[in-house]
């Protein structure tokens, strides 16, 4: 009797104790303290980088996507998670999520990955106060990716997988960094990054758009001016005379080779215009999240062919399988590498 009552109490406390222990306080990437459950079940992504990173870490709890995935994007995602609904975005440029809709979804965590500047800290504080839902802010800078994964793992109770993904990223980053370090300054290619159908929009020095290109040791020809995105003239590009052009625009990549105005640019003459893969998420530029990791191999191979002998097909297969939870077929990988989508 006594024993059984004790056992009963013990059983109750076993049931109750984790529930109490569940609420844990964690310091997020902006130095804010958030109280989260030990293991999250319903996570609301505040923007595209958060959605992608959370999908790679804990797909089952992702409530949906800032923008619904379409057509060929779905081929590379888990069929059930990839088709979850469009939720709009809470931060970034414009705020399309209705807070009442957000409450109805009953998230146990709102997650934002990106800038930890004051604007976003105050947005997080405000939304958290209004909704009573913990709002964690993670630093989305490229060189913080492993650290951000580990923190993300603690916030969601997914520490083991977060450690695995963080290690993978650290290894890729350190491999690339050490190989690039062996290239003397005069052998670093001068790269122009082209956006827009005319190819005249570019990322200036230090902009998030060219973060990985600059990380890979390339000399951004527009890097003399610091800033974000800007338009430049074709004359200026001719004056820079870049050796390599990296673009995300299919229309530009398709037309530039036959365009007489571009014929004088060295990269075009040498056939070194490269269209970046973009399926299901871009390899260069946006969204600024872990989707840029395979882009390092891709950039390494086109900037320093002899230093990066790895087979891009198997690198792609491994990354997609591990991060996107779906093994792509060889034709699908070819589709990705051609930059189609």
């Amino acid at each position: 009797m006594n024993v059984s009552r004790r056992a009963f109490i013990a059983a109750c406390s076993l049931l109750a104790a984790p529930r109490v222990a569940r609420a844990q306080s964690i310091t997020d990437g902006a130095g804010r303290t958030v109280t989260v459950p030990a293991r999250t079940d319903r996570v609301f992504p505040a923007g595209p980088p958060a959605a992608i990173q959370h999908y790679t870490l804990q797909p089952r709890s992702l409530l949906g996507w800032p923008r619904a995935n379409r057509g060929s994007e779905l081929l590379f995602l888990d069929p059930e998670v990839g088709t979850r609904p469009e939720l709009g975005r809470l931060t970034g440029r414009g705020n399309t999520t209705n807070l009442e809709v957000l409450l109805q979804l009953k998230p146990d965590l709102i997650l934002d990955v990106g800038s930890v500047a004051r604007t976003f800290v105050e947005t997080a504080d405000r939304v958290q106060a209004q909704t009573g839902i913990p709002y964690a802010l993670l630093d989305g800078r490229f060189d913080k990716i492993a650290e951000t994964y580990r923190l993300h793992g603690r916030l969601t109770g997914e520490t083991a997988r977060a450690e695995e993904l963080a290690r993978y990223c650290e290894e890729v980053v350190s491999t690339c960094r050490s190989r690039v370090a062996t290239v003397p300054a005069e052998r670093r290619p001068r790269v122009y990054y082209a956006r827009g159908p005319r190819g005249l929009d570019t990322g200036l020095g230090g902009s998030i758009n060219v973060e990985t290109i600059e990380f890979m040791g390339a000399i951004n020809v527009a890097g003399g001016t610091r800033g974000g995105l800007a338009t430049v003239s074709l004359e200026q590009i001719l004056a820079w005379d870049p050796e390599v052009i990296v673009t995300i625009d299919q229309e530009f990549a398709r037309t530039v080779r036959a365009d007489p105005s571009w014929a004088g640019v060295r990269a075009v003459r040498d056939g070194r215009v490269h269209l970046s893969p973009k399926m299901p998420f871009g390899w260069v530029d946006f969204p600024p999240s872990v989707n840029r990791m395979p882009g390092l191999w891709w950039l390494g191979k086109l900037l320093y062919p002899s230093l990066f002998p790895e087979d891009l097909i198997s690198v792609t297969r491994e990354f997609y399988t591990r991060f996107y939870h779906r093994v792509p077929t060889d034709p699908q990988i070819a589709f990705v590498l051609e930059g189609r989508g």
């Binding site: 956006r195 929009d201 003239s233 200026q236 995300i248 004088g264």
Partner: protein, 350 residues
């Protein structure tokens, strides 16, 4: 006797003003072209330009570097031509609308041409169309917006027709502006939104030879129609009762003027994006020099508008490694200039 000599003096004075006005405008334009060709991010000397032009005339290879030739014929050349055409188009349309509406504060976008074109362009960007598709939608958007304003404005009976038209233009313009806002809100923030923002600020950075014909055709046609209507436009800028009393059927002529001015505005906005100020300031400057008579005003405004936008665009492409949007430059340069005009040239509007 004395009366006749006064009339003769007035005619002579008008002649002097016309010659000096056109002369000044032509001078600005020619100087602008010379500067525009010799200034830029890629080094091209006037000698290179001469050699290239000679090879074009003689058919002999110029021996210049392919990049230099590309700059002259494919990049800087088309851009200089496009800047002149757009500036001329906006100035002529501005002069026509200011006369038609008898209001010095009117600019070419008064009836919604720019807002319609802007909405067309952002829709094109939203659906990831190519360059031609975006420009075609912008052009169509400008024409449709003005057609809509005109239909609604003429359907409303009673009151001052001109005032009703202007008010309808303002209202529809605001609605189209909301449409632009909606497209920007829905756009992908990484790719489409910057493209829309850049387009709306106006730029000739992407100008290509293939853009010139779709620009030149409508601008020439519209300007010729306006010039042909110059006498009627003089009468139209009188109060409507006086124009009617002089036996002018104001309705059809108003349609013709609006259609021609809209055609040139829409073509310019489709090619260069939204560029404010040129259509507002240049007609004032032209009127200040040659007076309000349209036979003199239209060619002067066209030449001065072309020269003005050419100088602005030369600054836009050569002052920094990155392009400065035309909409920003025209406003920064235009505002103090306009204030100066208001202070010094109040007599010009008469």
């Amino acid at each position: 006797m004395s009366e006749a000599s006064t009339v003769g003096d007035a005619a002579r004075e008008r002649g002097v003003r016309l010659v000096s006005g056109l002369g000044l405008a032509t001078l600005i334009l020619v100087a602008g072209v010379a500067i525009a060709f010799s200034v830029g991010r890629f080094p091209v000397t006037l000698g290179d330009l001469g050699v290239a032009l000679w090879s074009l005339i003689s058919g002999q290879p110029s021996g210049l570097a392919p990049a230099t030739e590309a700059v002259i014929f494919n990049i800087r050349g088309p851009r200089v031509v496009a800047a002149i055409l757009c500036g001329a188009a906006l100035a002529v349309a501005g002069a026509a609308f200011q006369g038609l509406f008898r209001n010095p504060l009117v600019s070419p976008d008064i009836l919604g041409a720019s807002s319609g074109a802007a909405l067309g362009a952002v829709i094109g960007i939203y659906f990831s169309l190519g360059i031609f598709g975006i420009q075609a939608l912008a052009f169509a958007g400008g024409l449709l917006a003005v057609a809509l304003v005109y239909l609604i404005g003429s359907a409303i009976r009673g009151g001052d027709t001109v005032l009703v038209l202007v008010l309808t233009g303002v209202v529809i313009g605001a609605l189209l502006g909301a449409g632009v806002g909606l497209m920007k809100y829905l756009a992908d923030p990484y790719n489409q939104l910057p493209a829309m923002t850049f387009w709306l600020l106006g730029s000739l950075a992407g100008t290509d030879k293939s853009d010139l014909l779709p620009l030149f055709g409508p601008v020439l046609a519209g300007t010729l129609v306006l010039f042909a209507l110059r006498w009627r436009m003089n009468v139209m800028s009188l109060p409507e009762e006086e124009a009617r009393a002089l036996g002018l059927a104001t309705g059809p002529i108003r349609i013709a003027i609006v259609a021609a001015a809209t055609l040139v505005t829409a073509a310019s906005v489709a090619a260069a994006g939204v560029i404010g100020w040129v259509g507002l300031i240049v007609p004032h400057l032209a009127r200040f020099i040659v007076g309000p008579e349209f036979g003199r005003l239209i060619p002067t405004a066209a030449l001065m508008g072309g020269g003005y936008l050419l100088i602005i665009d030369t600054l836009a492409r050569s002052s920094a490694q990155i392009e400065i949007p035309l909409g920003i430059l025209t406003a920064v340069i235009g505002t103090p200039f306009f204030i100066w005009l208001l202070v010094n040239a109040r007599k010009s509007w008469s």
